[in-house]
Symmetry: C2
Subunit: 242 residues, 2 copies
DNA sequence: AAAATAGTGTCTATTAGACATTATTGG
DNA sequence: CCAATAATGTCTAATAGACACTATTTT
């Protein structure tokens, strides 16, 4: 609408929260959380987020949350996830939160938390299969369960649901890997996102046939077995798909 | 976040706009629009929308827009689409709009506009194929082009993009049909949404194999040819899929 | 009988899963 | 040579498109 009846009942607080997602080298889903230093949910863990400024788009607010709260600057895959507007999400005020999710290679996670004392890398436990959806739980690297603030257990769950669905038709696996990777590494990313193993042969065929990957000519050395060919993401191919 | 830094820069206006979608019997995409009676965009056509109330969830605001602005009450498929937060969407104020889309059988569109003088059923022209996305144009039933207010040409475009993608994995075609329908009618719905013809044989096979439709035993009479079997949507089957 | 759509059967091309086999490296 | 993974080849099952054919209704 944008006003026809001019009964502007009230002006809510609007925040942007970002679900940062990554995959650890041992194949588990990771997210980056910040510890709250005041009530409500003091000491609980929360998604990096900011209030939306007057002259700030939602995308800019998401980039600011990534930079100032999570310590992730520069080029990152970010996409809008969902907007949460339940009445009692925050026990003090009515707050509407526009959630985004970002896909970040593990290496950037590690350097980000090294610079940011209030941030932690958490493992995501997904207690449901496929895209059925639901809440998640998070653990720190010592396997201790972390308490999540607000409805952030639900927001992270929806982010996982989204990337599981999206993996089937969009080349988002590449966002979670460094520039060069083996096909087996890409497969591990897919398996971690989907939460189940996939067929190696058909995965290789599908990826090679898609034109999304191109051989770099280099190989992953230092292994005790035949070195795998290194590939890079062919950005040309995706843009032509629109 | 939901506040840690207590710099609440400003409190924006938040609205909910609803893209109502339907399919006409001749196979074109329809939407329901309301005419603006004041500036900006006076006399232009806009999506039904309301300001979000203090004690109103986003879903409740969408239901209120459907009921009070569009004249559609009762059970309707409604789902959140996207949240728009560009700085100059509305030339007066910074307004953040949470868009929803609703799928409504054509019959309910017709009774709604009959009761609502300010509303019109518009044909949607989609100038792009597949899910590449973009803006749309709208025409009234006399084929005259209608001017859309704000960024609503873009919002409707994203709604079309969404249902095109969703049709491939979710049973949303049924939301656009009355309780009983023939398989050919369901196919026409799919073709109208997708914007291209689809194979009759494989569509029938896929639908019958899916278990989503069940024969009612009745037939579509009054035709000048063999009457088609009438089916109904098997809700049991979808809920088990999650 | 003619016209028109409903509905069935069959062939083919594509794709994913399963599984076997060969290739290449370090130890 | 052995262990381990890379990479290829082949068979099968499932599915979508194409197309031919039969069925059923009204005029």
């Amino acid at each position: 609408m944008d006003s026809t009846t001019f009964t502007k009942n009230f002006l809510p607080d609007v925040t942007v929260d970002v679900v940062l997602l990554s995959i650890s080298s041992n194949g588990s889903l990771l997210t980056l959380l910040t510890q709250r230093d005041e009530d409500p949910f003091k000491n609980a863990w929360a998604l990096p987020g900011v209030f939306v400024g007057r002259n700030e788009t939602l995308e800019n607010a998401a980039a600011r949350a990534l930079r100032d709260k999570a310590g992730i600057a520069g080029d990152v895959f970010v996409e809008q996830l969902f907007t949460f507007g339940s009445l009692n999400r925050d026990p003090r005020d009515r707050i509407i939160s526009v959630a985004y999710y970002a896909l970040v290679p593990e290496g950037r996670f590690i350097t980000a938390v090294a610079r940011n004392a209030g941030a932690v890398i958490a493992h995501i436990d997904v207690p449901w299969t496929g895209v059925s959806g639901g809440t998640v739980q998070v653990r720190n690297e010592a396997d201790k369960k972390l308490k999540l603030a607000f409805d952030h257990d639900r927001i992270i769950g929806i982010a996982v649901q989204r990337i599981r669905g999206k993996l089937n038709y969009a080349p988002i696996g590449f966002e979670l890997l460094p520039d060069e990777f083996t096909l087996f590494e890409l497969q591990h990313i897919h398996e971690a996102v989907l939460g189940h193993n996939i067929n190696k042969d058909s995965f290789r065929r599908k990826m090679l046939a898609s034109g999304l990957v191109e051989e770099t000519g280099r190989r992953r050395g230092g292994t005790a077995y035949r070195p795998a060919a290194l590939y890079s993401f062919n950005k040309e191919e995706t843009t032509t798909h629109g």
